[in-house]
Amino acid sequence: MTWKQVFTSSVGKKLTMGFTGIFLILFLVIHAGLNACIWANDGGEMFNAGAHFMGSNWVPRILEIGLFAGLLLHIIQGLMLEMSNRSKRATGYAVAYGNGGSKWYSRSMGLLGTIILLFLVLHLSDFWYPNRSSQGFLLGEEINLFTKMQQEFSELWVVIVYVLGCISLGYHLAHGFQSAFRTVGVHNKRYNLMLMTLGYAYSIVIPLAFAMMPVSMYLGWVH
Amino acid sequence: MLDAKIPSGPLDSKWTDYKGHCKLVNPANKRKLEVIVVGTGLAGASAAAAMGELGYKVKAFCFQDSPRRAHSIAAQGGINAAKNYQNDGDSVFRLFYDTIKGGDYRARESNVHRLAEVSANIIDQCVAQGVPFAREYGGMLSNRSFGGTQVQRTFYAAGQTGQQLLIGAYQALERQVALGNVKMYARHEMLDVVMIDGKARGIIARNLVNGELERHFGHAVLLCSGGYGNVFYLSTNAMGSNVTAAWKAHVKGAAFANPCFTQIHPTCIPVSGDHQSKLTLMSESLRNDGRIWVPKKQGDNRSPVDIKEEERDYYLERRYPAFGNLVPRDVASRAAKERCDAGYGVGTSKQAVYLDYADAIVRYGKIEIGKQGRENVSEEEIIKLGKEVVKEKYGNLFDMYAKITGENPYEVPMRIYPAVHYTMGGLWVDYELQTTLPGVYALGEANFSDHGANRLGASALMQGLADGYFVIPYTIGNYLADEIYNKPVSIEHPAFKEAEQAVSDRINTLMNIKGSQTVESFHKRLGKIMWDKCGMARNEAGLKEAIQEIQALKKEFWSDVKIPGEINEMNPELDKAGRVADFIELGELMCKDALNRNESCGGHFREESQTPEGEALRDDANFMYVAAWEYKADSEWELHKEPLVYDVVKPSQRSYK
């Protein structure tokens, strides 16, 4: 069986989704951990130090390429799967099965993912793009990201968009976390139960932490 | 006319000798020989798979949308095999003996012995295929006991043994389809056998999706089309189970043997009203732990839980102390009918008896308490634990009962009543499973050979798979070895055209009646005649009436049936009409056979022939034969008798007391 066969089969495509999903889940931990430094309330010193390390060291910068590759793979494969899956039932039902058999968010991963994607465009153009372009996309001079955050999150509408983005992320993770592990083949009852609990906890804690950042800044809890 | 071709020699070496001396077909020639298999239940699927493995070119037909849906799938209890894994004294001879005795000495010794011999191979084969039989904690296969025997030789997979065995055979069949050895025709119904120069050369089949008739050539035709219990309208058979394939062969000349031998299963859910379309069986294994009773008082309308122990009549335990609730099916069924007829029946219809699990729940509860080493445990705790054990063992059956009746069988006793379940009669076959039509074979429930006048529980699955996996692959070689000289006949041969025309004419006739009564209504009326007059008890006057009523019904059917739709489309009403027409003809023959057999044996109970205690009374002097009926013309049959010779077993009055 060739690699092409593996990754073009329905199960293989889902493996791609699962593995990239788990990779992105790990990334979010780092992202959230680093950003939590804003709550050190030291005028952004600790936060900027962390951000500087991530932006100026070759190791995280190379990993960043991997991150984008994984993200793109997750997005493109996800959208393609969504379209292909939708095409498998040309005539729909008059009465939908609805929530009797599954959670709404588990059926809406494509929609939630698309919302997150739109949010990401905004998010990257707010922070990542201005910073990297000031660096000349190499290891050049960075902007002060803490100040940038304070600027961005002084606008109420931006805060609201960020919070909505985080809610979408929460629901996406509520299904995605455990689904990813099932997809890569974890089937033992003991681990499934653990992963399910962990998944729900994760999908609340991480998006909540992210959402609290713009909120804290807007409300002036961070200085 | 009837040559059973029983090999000579001692009983226990007949099959070995036969296998050592029958003709063989070399592998290169097998590829040139085409075999048609009709029906894909346990017998058909296993035969098609086994012959595909051997290299024959096989075409398999079923009327369902997939071979996996054949009605073997509904068998619940288990499959017998003389493995003696329990060290309780079982052996090939015991299984053979129990089957002959259970069949009330109306089966052929040689066939039954062969069945017992290959029974062990079936289990091995199924395990190798991945059939997940129930196992003990040590990993060994588990056994349970079943009615009519005193050893534990029944292998099972919860209450779904038939399903698991059929899925095993189905997978083996699909593997042969994938390998190109078998071509599968689902949603096809066989409507005639094509005979050329006295030999079967193919069939006419109808594609049920578009209604087109198709001609298929075969050097031999295997009918594995199951039983004809649906002649009674209400039975535990699937809605589609029918006699048509077997009946077409019968009309073409294959003798039909012992048609009146039908099995009435004692543990079914009672009829709830006129709308009833079929009856549901509750596995006989329930009788292992359940106790059957009726109130001692006639017409007692109290709730069963209010009837005290001393006011209950555990009539099976009373009448048959040795076997108790585990007497064979025919005995248990008749005993239930006797109580209900005498006015002791329960439920709204009064046509039911109780199957009670209260004792078993307490017994199992106490065992659990014992295992846990606890003392001074409350009654509720015992019952709670007992219910858990019963749920583990019979949960799916209890759930099914609850769904159908809306009652909770863990709290109130179940109501059960006998229902038509299996037909021991069928196409007459010789030792090689060949019918009286050369080249036409009958396997499984479609033939008559192994169960005599009554089948023991867990033996139908055994017979179906024995015939398909282990008998036909040998015996058909003996016939096909001479067929290698015969090239396939073109389906343009006049005989094919003629047969197709006859089938087409009959369908057109049916469609053109355009009468006023539905097919279903005729089927119901036929069923009522059969159940009332050729059911659990039969007598001369009733049978004579039944024959006249059926003849009248036939006339009415052919002049007033109403079939909607067109021929060339999916038309289930038309399919059913053809089947009911055949059932009507069969019904008449069954009554004729029942009338002829003026003795009681097994499932056939003639009121004229009983002991003073009301037990079935055989008449070996006059009826120790297989009644094989040859079709002559409409409503005309000639009786041929195959005498039954018992060299090893000495027939005696069956006693389970």
Binding site: M1, Q5, S9, S10, V11, K14, L15, L81, N85, K88, R89, T91, A94, V95, G98, G101, S102, K103, S106, H175, S179, T183, V184, G185, H187 | A49, E53, D65, P67, R69, I73, A74, Q125, C126, Q129, G130, P132, R135, G139, Q160, G162, Y170, E174, R175, V177, T236, A238, M239, G273, H275, Q276, K403, G406, Y469, T518, S521, P564, E569, M570, E573
Partner: protein, 254 residues
């Protein structure tokens, strides 16, 4: 059990054949005993339709005891109707109230084309089994059944997967029309047994390829299949299939 008679409206999908366009039609059925099964209610309606000279509704059914897997009605938005762990044939009219309207549709999936009315073509399932849903053992090769002890828990888990009746409710319930529950039940049934071990890699690879070819969607673990399965087959089997597939593809020779 107390029973009563109820009157109902049935909104049923009618479609002459696979090429024609279908539409809903509404029928009144009166005096339906709550003791009837859902299919018996259809029998009653069909008898009336035939008597009135109309075409009866075609649907698949056979054993009517919940094991053959033939019946396949999508009732009020759920495959096999409102009861848990149940098939259409075992659904009884106690489940409905007097005056209710019941919407009955066929299984919907491109891989299950409608043949007529409520009857669909599920032969794709047979072809998936043909792709490897078996243990390759010819008749007569078997060793003694007890020569290979199988852990009771494994045997039980294998049986729980093998209980699948192939009705296709999982496909009908899945928003992606995925056949993964059906497929994984077979893969699990065989992979859990030592007999199935030699072919486990080729089996899962070929069966998945066939499923894709038949036009079923991919699994997104929503769990709708498990919730509707009449035999309560667990989606854990799907995870097990994924593992089988992962191992098979990463350990493949070429």
């Amino acid at each position: 059990m107390e029973h009563q008679n109820i009157n109902l409206s049935l909104k049923v999908w009618r479609q002459k054949n696979s090429n024609s366009k279908g539409a809903f039609e509404t029928y009144k059925v009166n005096n339906i005993s709550t003791e009837m099964s859902f299919l018996e209610m259809f029998d009653v309606m069909n008898e009336e339709l035939i008597t009135e000279g109309k075409d009866p509704v075609t649907f698949d059914h056979d054993c009517r005891e919940g094991i053959c897997g033939a019946c396949s009605m999508y009732i009020n938005g759920k495959p096999h109707g409102p009861w848990e762990a149940n098939t259409t044939c075992q659904l009884h009219m106690r489940a409905f109230k007097d005056g209710e309207t019941i919407v009955v549709e066929p299984w919907r999936a491109n891989a299950f084309p409608v043949i007529k009315d409520l009857m669909v073509d599920r032969s794709a399932f047979d072809r998936i089994i043909q792709a490897g849903g078996y243990i390759s053992v010819n008749t007569g090769n078997a060793v003694d059944g007890n020569s290979m002890p199988i852990e009771k828990d494994k045997a039980d888990a294998s049986f729980a997967a093998a209980m699948c009746i192939g009705c296709g409710a999982c496909v009908a319930a899945c928003k992606n029309s995925s056949a993964m529950l059906f497929l994984s039940a077979k893969v699990s049934h065989l992979a859990l047994l030592p007999q199935g071990d030699p072919e486990r890699s080729t089996r899962v690879i070929n069966m998945v390829a066939q499923m894709d070819k038949e036009g079923f969607g991919a699994c997104t673990n929503t769990g709708a299949c498990e919730a509707t399965c009449p035999k309560e087959i667990s989606i854990t089997n799907i995870a097990r299939l994924n593992q089988e597939y992962l191992l098979a593809s990463f350990t493949a020779d070429k």
